[in-house]
């Protein structure tokens, strides 16, 4: 996310991190989680699940902020996120 002015307390804010879990065989491939993920970290997988749908897969696991939106928009109880320790600093 780009800011036109960096907030003064930006160094003190701890961004939550999450780990996305997908129960692939429940997925019916509606794509809601992929479309509405605010961090756009999900995409359709190449592979099929047991029902012949393409389940979502996590493209950038470090991008998840544990907002749970995929979990609450999913009509199939097939995806959820849990709080995770922050990833190792890259910079």
């Amino acid at each position: 996310m780009e800011f036109w002015r960096v907030p003064l307390d930006t160094n003190t804010i701890e961004i939550a991190h999450g780990e996305v879990h997908i129960i692939e065989d429940r997925c019916k491939g509606c794509g809601y989680c992929i479309e509405f993920c605010p961090r756009s970290i999900l995409a359709f997988a190449e592979r099929f699940n047991a029902k012949g749908y393409h389940p979502p897969e996590v493209l950038r696991p470090e991008g998840c902020v544990n907002c749970h939106y995929c979990e609450i928009i999913c009509p199939e109880f097939a995806i959820f996120s849990v709080a995770a320790p922050p990833p190792a600093p890259t910079a």
Binding site: H21, Y32, P75
Partner: protein
């Protein structure tokens, strides 16, 4: 009944709602992209987080796609005859006033065949929470025109477009005397969950309309894919406090008003009955 052989990875944690759904019946029958699952999950989350005694909570639903919800919830639930979810729920509540009764059903069940029961339960102010998943048609039977199908929308039985005006459900609920009325779409699922929570905690007749896509029967005939419907929910809805009640029609050629419309208090049916007819020492 033991869970069928659904293989989960050994270290994977369970879905947060796993305890509230009958996971041996999942995947459910709802089509890919159907909004019922999301509304159902919102209702379950609201029940789980509202601090209710879930042993004293039951879900009642009627017939139709949304009516299947009673079969998927891992609480005492009641799948009733067509249109009669509210009378059965009324009976449950009168028989055991300690119960929290949630009615989860569809627009066809609650407002077409069951419309009469709805207005009278609201008039009596029965202490129920009614969640109506409005998918704008009779989905399960093949997409026929319903009492909520928008003007000019195409369905199986109105191939030239629906010539009739739809019900304005919040107006109907308000006019009948409901003490809590709200409307959200499945895209506004956080607000929806909060409103369901509030409605469950509130005594009196609460009504929540949830707009959800029916991609296979309604969407296909109106050239809407489920994601397009959700985009429309994003672009053509507006959240308004204290709107005019006759301004709440579901007409996506204009903006559809969402929000919490009514929140008032009125003595419930049981309170009034006790005061009037029961001689207490």
């Amino acid at each position: 009944m033991p869970a069928t052989a659904r293989k989960t990875m050994p270290k994977t944690p369970d879905h947060p709602l796993e305890a509230l759904i009958r996971s041996d019946r999942i995947p459910h029958i709802w089509c890919p992209g159907c909004g019922i699952g999301t509304a159902f999950a919102a209702a379950l989350t609201a029940m789980a987080t509202s601090g209710l005694d879930l042993q004293k909570t039951c879900m009642v639903s009627g017939i139709g796609c949304s009516g299947r919800a009673a079969g998927y919830v891992n609480l005492d639930s009641f799948h009733t005859t067509h249109g009669r979810a509210i009378p059965f729920a009324t009976g449950l509540k009168l028989g055991n006033p300690a119960l929290n009764v949630v009615v989860f059903s569809g627009d066809g069940d609650l407002f077409a065949i069951g419309g009469n029961h709805f207005i009278h339960a609201a008039r009596r102010n029965m202490d129920l929470t009614v969640i109506c998943l409005n998918n704008l048609n009779y989905g399960m039977t093949g997409g026929q025109v319903a009492a909520t199908t928008p003007f000019h929308a195409r369905t199986t039985t109105t191939p030239m477009g629906n010539p009739e005006a739809p019900f304005n459900l919040p107006l109907l609920a308000w006019a009948s005397g409901a003490t809590y009325v709200a409307r959200w779409t499945i895209l506004h699922t956080r607000e929806l969950t909060e409103c369901i929570q509030k409605a469950i905690r509130k005594s009196g007749f609460s009504f929540i309309e949830v707009l959800g896509p029916c991609p296979v029967n309604y969407g296909r005939r109106n050239k809407e894919k489920s994601l397009q419907t959700l985009k429309m929910y994003q672009e053509r809805t507006i959240i308004r406090n204290d709107p005019r009640m006759d301004d709440l029609e579901v007409d996506f050629t204009r903006q559809v008003v969402l929000g919490e419309f009514v929140d008032k208090d009125r003595p419930t049916c049981i309170e009034n009955y006790d005061k009037t007819c029961r001689i207490l020492e």
